[in-house]
């Protein structure tokens, strides 16, 4: 009996350990977050009357979306979609072709220091600006149309792909690289037989992922004049043809789903 008595002396309640262990830091974080949210909401400057007005308008807006009508503007939708697809394909290919030298240069274990710094700078610069800003400038320089979109998407692709390629090369297994080097391979042979096979499977997956991103982004470069489905979408919005707009959005979603499924399939096939 005395044994059970000792057991009941154990604490019957348990409190889960907090996520942030240091008490002062935890309270500072909570307090800071609360103040930030208060100030942030305070400066939102929401015109609630306009929002209230917008709710019935939003209902009408959503009602106008249904049913989606791809048929009345089918020709221009098809034209826009195809233009987006061409643009996406060549931008992805050209962007990746450009990223390979930049990525090799931006890998610390491959490139000499000045080349490394230069390539990192190129990557940082092209990663900073969203595709839309790049597209605005491309349209200014190259005129309206899909070529401007192609340039903008290619530059954005370099920022994305070269960075991941460089990081992958930095993470590679140095043993294989050393053994190829020990056979007396030239620099190109070394890249081709030691580095490339190690990074290839992941890079193919990322290329498919970038194709997917570029397609999605091709819908917005059109808004600033870069050609593709975005231009058609903007026209549909401007003409208040929301049923056509809904159809375009649905088509974009379907194509992205298809690409995602396809890239999963391809990745399994590569590995």
């Amino acid at each position: 009996m005395s044994e059970t008595a000792t057991i009941t002396n154990y604490p019957g309640r348990w409190k889960r350990p907090p996520l942030v262990k240091r008490r002062w830091l935890r309270w500072t974080l909570w307090f800071g977050a609360a103040i930030y949210l208060a100030v942030g909401f305070g400066t939102l400057e929401v015109d609630w009357q306009r929002v209230a007005e917008g709710i019935p308008r939003g209902q009408r807006f959503l009602a106008a979306f249904f049913p989606p009508d791809p048929f009345s503007r089918w020709d221009s939708i098809l034209d826009g979609i195809l233009e987006s697809i061409w643009m996406t394909v060549i931008a992805t290919v050209a962007g990746i072709a450009l990223s390979v030298p930049v990525g090799l240069g931006a890998a610390r274990n491959l490139a000499p220091r000045p080349v490394y710094l230069f390539c990192r700078f190129v990557v940082a610069l092209s990663r900073t600006f969203p595709e839309v800003i790049l597209a605005i400038f491309a349209v200014k320089l190259f005129g309206f149309g899909p070529f401007a979109g192609f340039i903008a998407l290619s530059i954005a692709t370099v920022g994305f792909y070269a960075k991941l390629l460089a990081e992958d090369i930095e993470d590679m297994d140095p043993v294989q690289a050393e053994s190829i080097r020990a056979t007396g391979a030239s620099w190109f042979q070394w890249i081709n037989y030691a580095v490339q096979p190690q990074v290839m499977p992941r890079m193919i997956g990322l290329a498919m992922y970038r194709l997917d991103i570029n397609f999605r982004e091709s819908a917005v470069v059109g808004i600033v004049g870069g050609g593709g489905i975005g231009a058609t979408l903007l026209t549909a919005f401007d003409r208040y043809e929301f049923d056509s707009a809904a159809a375009i959005l649905l088509i974009i979603i379907l194509i992205v789903m298809g690409l995602e499924y396809g890239s999963g399939y391809l990745r399994r096939w590569v590995q």
Binding site: V46, F61, F129, V220
Partner: protein, 270 residues
């Protein structure tokens, strides 16, 4: 890998002949597609403007320097708004993404139909760019920061929920079973068995998305949804190139700072 016996002894090759042919055909097909697509795009291009780009670029560059530093006084508020759009949008997205992720994860979803709907929500949110969400929201609730916040929120649900549900599917089931064995309800299992396991992933995802959102919220102003994009649009349409260059520098600085913050925080978590 293949070794061929020849008269001069074995020759090592990286691929078998059949494999070499397959690779060659793959390259041929890819090149053909590329050339075809390029031709279609080039048909729609006015090459005169493209060839003129060099002079245009020089002209634009000469108009852009030096940046008009005094314009900075008008930019502090838009920068603050931009950061607010990104932060509040991320918070909004996380609030909606957590239930979506639990409904979409194979091991926590109540029903396969619910899972399919949740996956569709994720794909739709990911497929439609925040600029397009903003375009629609500005039409509904009027121009302003709120439209930007909601646009960023809707756009980020997909990203956050996708990464989160993948984290949920990869949890260690033994811990959940142990909690279940104590007689815990499903809600308690969620709170004590699953939540602690996905907490690091959750924190990482939030900071990662916040960093991306800073970048995206800089352009929402182009369609009237607040932030520094409004000033960018105004400066470009009035051809005030010295202001444009300053705005680009400010965006660059904001993005670099946010990337640094996010890297620090993620480093602290992981």
């Amino acid at each position: 890998m293949a070794v061929y016996e020849t008269d001069d002894g074995p020759v090592w090759k990286r691929r078998t002949t059949r494999h070499e042919w397959m690779v060659w055909l793959g390259w041929l097909a890819a090149t053909a597609i590329f050339v075809y697509c390029f031709k279609l795009v080039s048909d729609k291009t006015i090459w005169f403007f493209v060839l003129d780009a060099g002079t245009q670029a020089q002209d634009m560059a000469s108009r852009m320097v030096p940046p008009k530093w005094s314009y900075m006084d008008d930019l502090w508020r838009p920068v603050w708004d931009t950061i607010n759009i990104a932060t509040l949008g991320t918070v909004l997205a996380l609030i909606m993404a957590v239930p979506t992720a639990f409904l979409a994860a194979k091991n926590t979803t109540p029903h396969p139909t619910v899972r399919a709907i949740a996956l569709f929500v994720i794909v739709s949110s990911r497929s439609i760019n925040s600029l397009i969400w903003a375009l629609m929201l500005v039409a509904i609730i009027g121009p302003g920061i709120l439209a930007g916040v909601i646009a960023i929120g809707l756009r980020s649900i997909g990203f956050c929920a996708k990464l989160l549900y993948e984290a949920i599917e990869e949890i260690d089931v033994t811990q959940v079973e142990a909690i279940e064995a104590t007689g815990a309800t499903r809600a308690q299992q969620l709170s004590f068995g699953i939540a602690p396991q996905i907490m690091p992933a959750f924190a990482g995802i939030s900071v990662f998305r916040w960093d991306i959102n800073i970048r995206e919220s800089t352009v929402l102003g182009l369609v009237g949804a607040g932030g520094i994009g409004l000033q960018l649009e105004a400066s470009i349409s009035t051809l005030a190139w010295t202001q444009v260059s300053l705005i680009l520098l400010v965006i660059l600085a904001t993005v670099i700072v946010s990337e640094w913050v996010s890297a620090k925080v993620r480093h602290a978590i992981i």
